[in-house]
Symmetry: C2
Subunit: 295 residues, 2 copies
């Protein structure tokens, strides 16, 4: 079998890292980048406005904003191309899975959705820990790291020229919001602070707003998670589990999407979240080799 | 669909905990315990010398010693019963998987092998971290906890009446062996110590031998693991991952076997290690509910 032919759709933060991840994969060829504006080739990889300008494509990595995932996935599936996305609106995942499942089965193709780290690899850990201790409580503690949703909410406030909302884990799933704002000339910090604290994104969390001169000096792409479960295996209490990571956020997201592109080629047609995939299908090469190495 | 009908084969350390795990599962019925000697019913559950004395059985949990797994699994698969084992001789897993795979496919049944915590749940974490950071190093650090294999090796030495070998993690996969021995009258501690340190089980590790009066006062079933991976996602270095647990060893092993009994009923015929199973298949009830809850 030849290499898997991949296209990266969208060339923002995730898309740029996805190009690197696909190029690092031993069993993939990056055949092109699709972005609305087209553009010059990137390191020898063609950039096109429409995927029809490329030859055969096996899998499209959808690195566009979450809100356009469904439209893009449906379009590419109907063209006979597997899709992978990192759709991250947790409450809307079951509906997206149903929609893409129908389209995918009709097209005889596979969609893997919500393939990032949360939802994504964290979901796998949550499922594994449920199996290890079916009774108990799992806490997912995010950060320290930049929250995209909260940052966008702050940027929308009057008087804010630039913003960064950091998520700080306080344990047991409780988070503090550290909000850094660069104000427009004449804006009032007290007024901006009140606006932020009244926003539904922040109203229920401990929130601190800090004025800075140049927001660009505060932004980095690091993020992290701490997950814990204390629960019961059979009838034995106090089984303790913990998963931690400190990672570059877009690098990990795009790496996981790339691994899922491989898994697309190994499933029956349909739509899958990561807890529905065998782990070995994420890895290159033959199954027997990984059983020998990892089990 | 009715509940899954389970039998626990072997009633030693793991078997006793397996009974509890199956009884705690909402979708399983424990129809009997198979032990060579037969015996009186345990809490209303029949104990039989031969599985033919029970009615329909869907899955057999093989809680017998690792060395008898193959013989038992082949026997039950040929009787049309799915099997789950916690076979833990890492180097022999590929061969066992081939053997059981052929038998299982011919019987139209499923064998899940090496379903414990290592091999088992740790294997899943190792596979997930390979997908998250394909270049890098994973370390599995065991303990503190009792090593069955090392303890048995010490018990075989002349002059040893009782023994406990504790595995102590020193990081980067290096382990110290703390060996507690109860000597037979007249035995020489220096001689026993030299024998232990010369044994291939201990020759390559830092080993300390300590004499105690009553070995039973030193044994507990707690164990643990610390796994780390530092690696590269795409072309981004220094991605840091860590998994920790502190658990009752037989309780977790038997809980994982029980979850895999459920997964048996959801796979195509064949033999599987845990990295070849979708996580959601380990969990009771319908897939959609778990996607909504965990993803």
């Amino acid at each position: 079998m030849g290499n898997i032919k991949i296209t990266v759709v969208g060339y923002g933060n995730i898309g740029r890292y996805a190009v690197e991840a696909v190029q690092a994969a031993p069993d993939m060829d990056l055949v092109g980048i699709v972005r609305r504006s087209g553009g010059e080739a990137v390191g020898g990889v063609p950039v096109v406005a429409d995927i029809s300008e490329l030859g055969q494509v096996d899998v499209a990595l959808l690195c566009t904003p979450t809100r356009s995932v469904e439209e893009n996935a449906v379009k590419y599936l109907k063209m006979g191309i597997h899709t992978v996305d990192s759709f991250d609106i947790h409450g809307s995942i079951p509906a997206l899975r149903r929609t893409l499942g129908e389209v995918a089965r009709q097209a005889g193709k596979t969609a893997i959705l919500s393939a990032g780290w949360d939802p994504g690899s964290d979901s796998i850990v949550r499922a594994l820990l449920e199996a290890c201790a079916p009774r108990g409580i799992t806490y997912t503690n995010f950060g320290p790291g930049m929250s995209m949703g909260h940052t966008v909410a702050v940027k929308g406030k009057a008087g804010v020229a630039g913003a960064l909302s950091m998520t700080i884990p306080l344990g047991t799933g409780v988070h503090r919001r550290m909000v850094y704002v660069q104000l427009e000339p004449g804006a009032d910090l007290a007024k901006v602070t009140a606006d932020i604290k009244a926003d539904p994104y922040f109203a229920h969390d401990e929130t601190h707003v800090i004025e800075v001169d140049d927001i660009n000096l505060y932004i980095d792409k690091g993020h992290g998670v701490n997950m814990t479960r204390k629960g019961v295996s059979g009838q034995t209490d106090n089984q303790l589990f913990e998963f931690n990571m400190k990672i570059n956020n877009p690098a990990l997201t795009s790496q996981i999407m790339t691994a899922c592109a491989r898994a697309c080629t190994r499933q029956k047609p349909g739509a899958y979240t990561m807890i529905e995939l065998p782990m070995v299908d994420l890895l290159p090469g033959d199954r027997d080799g990984w059983v020998k190495k990892l089990v």
